[in-house]
Symmetry: C2
Amino acid sequence: MPEMKKGTNYTAAHLGKWEDLKDYKMEEPVKARGKAFLNDLLDLNSMEVSINSFPPHTSVPFHHKHGENEELYIFVKGKGQFQVDEDVFDIEEGSVVRVAPTGVRIFRNNSDENLYFICVQAKENSLQHNNISDGIVVEKPVEW
Amino acid sequence: MPEMKKGTNYTAAHLGKWEDLKDYKMEEPVKARGKAFLNDLLDLNSMEVSINSFPPHTSVPFHHKHGENEELYIFVKGKGQFQVDEDVFDIEEGSVVRVAPTGVRIFRNNSDENLYFICVQAKENSLQHNNISDGIVVEKPVEW
């Protein structure tokens, strides 16, 4: 269990370094290692997020799609390949991929190093205000 | 403009390495460097996401809150401090922070290295199915 900090308006956790992610495990519905889910951990209610370490020369063992959630993959470190429907393309540090719910997706790490990535999903068409229109500056001195 | 790839069900972009993020600029409503927004770039419609490089010994110059979006910060590399309302805590590689819309937030990089982070926002209470219940396995051979 990671170190936690919580207040009225926030929940924070410290997962550890990227190379420590291997110690996080998913048990259901399939066993997987190197996967930390944030939704339950942080009480998120608008998105599900996983922080992932994916071992060398490994593929997700199945293709999948989604019911109603848009998915975003952010590749943080390492190299691999991603497939959506019939298109296959290389991904690496700095690659970002949006997949619509009906896109049939899979990816693999075809390199000798770990592939680290973040996967975010949220309900398709749910965003009404983007960063700039939703943010409100608060008049309060910056004291540090 | 990053290298792009697009199909019926996806949009992918390659932003480059973390240290190349300094070349991305925001012009409106305030000028900022080292900030790549993904919503318009990838045609996202459920979330706004920024990928950020934040320089040493720098603070966000103002506190802010949100109208209706929950915000998640994922710290990828480096060290700093985060404040929500009256609570101040350290953040570093592997720290993740959920902030409710009304939380008054600010952060700083008080170290000698760049602070790299991802900020995601999505509409509060919009998620109805999480990762496991929304995913659908597709019967299709894994061919690589």
